[in-house]
Symmetry: C2
Amino acid sequence: MRPTMRDVARRAGVSLKTVSRVVNGEGGVRPDTTAKVNAAISALGFRRNDIARALRGGKRTRSLGLVIKDVANPFYSQIARGVEEVARANDLLVISGCSDEDPARERHLIRSLCERRVDGLLVVPSGNDHRYLISEISMGTPAVFIDRPPEEALEADVVLIDSVGGARAAVDHLLRHGHRRIACLSDLPGIFTASERLRGYREALGEHGVPVDEALVRPGRHDVAGAESAMAELLALDDPPTAVFTGNNRLTVGALRAIQAAGAGTALVGFDDLELADMLATPVTVVAHQPVEMGRRAAELLCRRMAGEELPPQRVVLPTHLIVRGSGELPPP
Amino acid sequence: MRPTMRDVARRAGVSLKTVSRVVNGEGGVRPDTTAKVNAAISALGFRRNDIARALRGGKRTRSLGLVIKDVANPFYSQIARGVEEVARANDLLVISGCSDEDPARERHLIRSLCERRVDGLLVVPSGNDHRYLISEISMGTPAVFIDRPPEEALEADVVLIDSVGGARAAVDHLLRHGHRRIACLSDLPGIFTASERLRGYREALGEHGVPVDEALVRPGRHDVAGAESAMAELLALDDPPTAVFTGNNRLTVGALRAIQAAGAGTALVGFDDLELADMLATPVTVVAHQPVEMGRRAAELLCRRMAGEELPPQRVVLPTHLIVRGSGELPPP
DNA sequence: AGATGAGATGACAACGTTGTCGTCCTGAGA
DNA sequence: TCTCAGGACGACAACGTTGTCATCTCATCT
């Protein structure tokens, strides 16, 4: 079907190796020979087979694997964007997959990627046991974790967002605006960022001497619908919260819907920025950060590892910044 | 570095081929031998090399290439999501790249993907000359176009959105609400969907006997900032439009910003749904459709082609539906 | 003219796997 | 006991490329 170098060689009346030389611009080929070869190449529509190329000589495949939770979520698609930019600059292709927060799926994906001999892995880890990666790493497939660190046993680079700091800033902001009954919606407790943000929430309250009312803490919400119903429940309490901190973009959207549906004036600060956050009836105050940059940094770190650079495991923590827009400054009733 | 089947064979004291049989579950291996081999496999951390596997026997690489404009744009990331779902179901990996609407970049990407011998291509085409794909297709790499058809010369499957119909419905809606001075923001005229939506706009006006005021037609806007400034200009006219139709999600966001900044009450219907569109001060009426489904359908079509199925080039057109939320029903002043 | 050397080209092996085919062993049937 | 079938396993080639090394051709110099 597809012509090989041998076909090109036959047509050009030269040897296989000469074609290889032309294709790879190795030089040492006379101009007229080069022309003949090039003519044969375009006549046949020859494309070098990178599969064979990668095989021969244990070459690099010039590809990297990216495992995220869900591309359709803007947070992850922005990470993917950053990764793609760096990949492009380094002439790498990105093979990506979604784990949907399922450790089994993640493991299967990573396995497939390793079997395909990607040169490196970028992973937003789902489960809590990534020891199976140790052997992959030791066998020359470096890995960089994004957004969540691997467990202690695994020494690998990781690029994080300052979740605790961001959450504290958010809750601190609400406290300074006079709120004392501040609810918290957070994702599944097994997720690092979720527990970190919850920790930041508790710390901020603690610092201000405000006891945590566990009735206002609603962890384990991992989608818009879950957050919406949790928020609706909170609003239906006899003594509802006057403010809420939401742990990620999905939860923020859900909470906003519930608040709007209830016609409540609940103050809100959300983790992750949202497009149009500034255009809502009450513009949304958020803890913003740079997901694209996170993807970039992780990919750059990975490229250094792939180049063989030896350095102690890096832990990059990107800052957050509070964007004040209105919803976080609503006063308690 | 990474052990090969030969290493496993040596360690297990069997032949290469026996290892291959075990790894691929071919059968015909005694249980105790199988156990020895498996022990060696896990002791060495062996991973089958799919590169070699794909090479031998011209096997499929079990991967497909996806070229979109920009993963960070929700429209495209949703397409990617749909593709990923189908890929997962068919045990394929997705290698994706962003063209950023640059034909040269797109061509380079597709070339790289073909060199890597992806089993099929999914492309949101950027330029207007994809004849170079003909030879790839004829050589056994099927291609399916998404969102925009290739030029006539190229017979390939394509999955589209009913852009003309959607745009007509949007403008018709505005006309029925009494608007006569309706502006249109659209993307670069070279982009199929942009010109189709502009056509739908013109057709709808024509049907209602409303002449097109070219001063209100602003094509060539391809990002939020461009749309925002174009909309600001329109609002600053002596005789500003009372309504606007925006050709895609980026342009809708830009227009909304300008309208809000000007404190104008301009009616708006946008193509593409937006998260939170229903939560804005004036909820946004949109022409919605199913980008995830578009990705799915395209990937399914590609899988059929990859399986060798022969059928005439398909042209799937997915419907749009108007979601009435408020901004499109604002009356003219 | 013969030696020399640089430049151009080709032959061949190897990368890690799997398909083909051959060999060996065991147990059942004659 | 001999034959034979069939199961278990191994040897070998091939996929398409590139690195290594060998060969061949001239132009140049002595």
